[in-house]
């Protein structure tokens, strides 16, 4: 298993490797879920774990999400570090009661006596042509539940680093895996995974250097969309900064606000619905903190406020490059009085 060369790896491989390394490093780490054992999960993220660590460490459970998360609570009470796989975003819903009523607040209810070091891995988001119930962006539900961390990687390296951090965390982490990035590739060495900042730090994926600047803020599957939009925008004379939040909770106000203060304009991009979605919270936080630096209202490019559409129509629903560029164009450049200000 020792490959020293840096070769292209997929996000799926990096996630699988993170699980493996976490299990090897700590016998308290147990993986449980539907089809995670023999099959290796429907996305093959847990491939090989049952073989290497045995059925007791990587367990095919009965088909019952509340039962999976509920038993994980008891396992955590006894000192284990369960990593739960939900098969798809929309199939995590039966476990909501356990998540909201117990996982998120057990530490608080017991005044610190019973922390819940549980990682709930959720393959999430659309763009894979999945039929009904296979493409939800459910992050707003999780964000609205105090006590949970909510993390979504956008790169291969982050997928590894953030999943290791999530498993090592003494707090529960809902780990949203962008399904459509599972097969995205990057140069990445499993034997020398690069250091990743702790959970709660955003990162500037593309810095703006000056001119007509704005900040695109996104996470998970929308980050590559924003990067692509930024490239396209540069042809039109805009220099867009792209912030990858990496975690919605905790929220990195510092990195976001520093960027918006530099650029003066911001667009939040996500697949989740706009109404009641994360973008509203993010726009409010920016407005509260950076009002005097803003040249235009913070705009949102989000999924429509509709149930997730059929795959044949999903491209109209998902925020794409054009829609992001349209939003950038609406950032009141005509009233520009700081044009050309140095960044």
């Amino acid at each position: 298993m020792t490959t020293t060369a840096v070769k292209p790896a997929t996000m799926a491989q990096a996630l699988g490797r993170a699980l493996r390394d976490a299990m090897a490093a700590d016998p308290a780490v147990h993986v449980l879920g539907e089809d995670v054992g023999t099959l290796g999960g429907v996305f093959r993220i847990t491939d090989g774990l049952a073989k290497e660590f045995g059925d007791d460490r990587c367990t095919d459970t009965p088909l019952a999400e509340a039962g999976i998360l509920g038993t994980a609570v008891g396992m955590a009470m006894y000192g284990l570090r369960p990593v739960v796989e939900m098969q798809f975003d929309a199939f995590a819903y039966p476990s909501f009661e356990q998540l909201v009523s117990h996982v998120s607040r057990m530490r608080n209810r017991t005044r610190g006596a019973l922390p819940m070091p549980i990682t709930v891995r959720v393959p999430y988001g659309g763009g894979i042509g999945g039929v009904e119930h296979h493409s939800d962006s459910s992050e707003a539900y999780y964000m609205a539940t105090p006590g949970l961390h909510v993390v979504a990687p956008a790169t291969v390296a982050d997928a590894y680093g953030l999943l290791r951090a999530a498993i090592a965390s003494d707090d529960p982490v809902v780990f949203l895996e962008p399904k459509r990035l599972y097969w995205s590739k990057a140069e990445w060495s499993p034997d020398h995974p690069e250091e990743v900042a702790p959970i709660g730090r955003a990162v500037v994926r593309r810095p703006a250097t000056g001119g007509r600047t704005a900040t695109l803020i996104s996470y998970g599957p929308s980050v590559p969309v924003c990067l692509e939009a930024a490239e396209a925008a540069s042809a039109e004379g805009w220099d867009l900064e792209v912030v990858d939040l990496r975690s919605l909770v905790p929220f990195d106000d510092e990195t976001v606000c520093a960027s918006v203060r530099r650029t003066g304009r911001a667009v939040v991009v996500h697949e989740s619905t706009g109404f009641g979605g994360p973008g509203g919270e993010i726009a409010a936080r920016i407005t509260e903190r950076c009002f005097h630096h803003l040249e235009a209202p913070v705009l949102r490019v989000a999924g429509f406020d509709i149930p997730y559409p059929p795959p044949m129509l999903e491209r109209h629903h998902l925020p794409g490059v054009d829609r992001v560029l349209d939003a950038v164009a609406r950032l009141q450049w005509e009233s520009e009085w700081t044009e050309g200000r140095a960044v």
């Binding site: 039962g67 008891g74 396992m75 006894y78 057990m106 530490r107 006596a113 922390p115 905790p250 929220f251």
Partner: protein, 376 residues
Amino acid sequence: MTVLEQPGAYRPTPPPAWQPRVDAAPLLPDAEPYRLLGTDAAADIDPALLTRLYGELVRGRRYNTQATALTRQGRLAVYPSSTGQEACQVAAGLVLREQDWLFPSYRDTLAAVVRGLDPVHALTLLRGDWHSGYDPRDHRVAPLCTPLATQLPHAVGLAHAARLKGDDVVALALVGDGGTSEGDFHEALNFAAVWRAPVVFLIQNNGFAISVPLAKQTAAPSLAHKAVGYGMPGRLVDGNDAVAVHQVLGEAVRRARAGGGPTLVEAVTYRLEAHTNADDATRYRSDAEVEAWRAHDPITLLEEAMRDRGLLDDQAVQSARDAAERMAADLRTRMHQDPALDPMDLFEDVYAEKTGQLREQADALRAELAAEEGER
């Protein structure tokens, strides 16, 4: 005529005939609730056990009346009494070993107290103070659980984890008759059976889920019968016969400890008081029904059996009551002291480390408190 019906047509051989994987018969509960008191078998019961159970029942009843009184004095926000169910509570509290875990619901503070918890700590949640007045690890008592049946999968997970580690630990999880309709009841029992987890589930069937009688809750032959569907034994026991409950639970705990897997026990009992002090039970049940159950009171049943065997006299009864009175007096005194809560603790233990947001909110509250202090 279809192609397959034509003479000489190819007929696929069916796969091997379905067979039950376990024989259902040994899993079935008795037809009638199992009883010991008032039967010939009562003569063989260890007198020391009877004395212990009696003392705990008397103390438990007094604990219930005292806690109910504290609601009237504004010292408890709410109290779901286990009056009438003391036999179940006491047996559940006594049947476990030190290293075992108890998973109580809101109605089971008495079981926790019998297990060794300070009554004031057991009642902390119900006085409107912090959610758990005790560290669950101290007495291996999980936090009192209010969302019905959600504690059951926790018990399964904990027992499973302990078994994987090779530790000798059994979990006893309590649930009400209404709670058996919840999905978590089903999922917990299924997981427990599949994993052969060392868990015992005790249903206290007290006839009602607030106002809703059992007949509107289930069409099962009995709640104990539900065990069969999961492949575990179901036991039906008279929940007001403390000795029978103690014995049945004891057997189930021993079975779990020996690696025999989970057991479901249904104890048939009755909630003599209203659901809580805030409930009006006259809206859904008759006095006659309540009186009939009073005649089957767990304390009277045991007292009579012990007197029959010459194991209890007036003096022993009086000394049990005196001990209970001392407990009640102590509880009263301590519950009449105002607890000191620090509002700044609101931000503690939400996460291992406060997020930036929580630090900001804590600062805001601190400033508010300082301003309030200044106004005084």
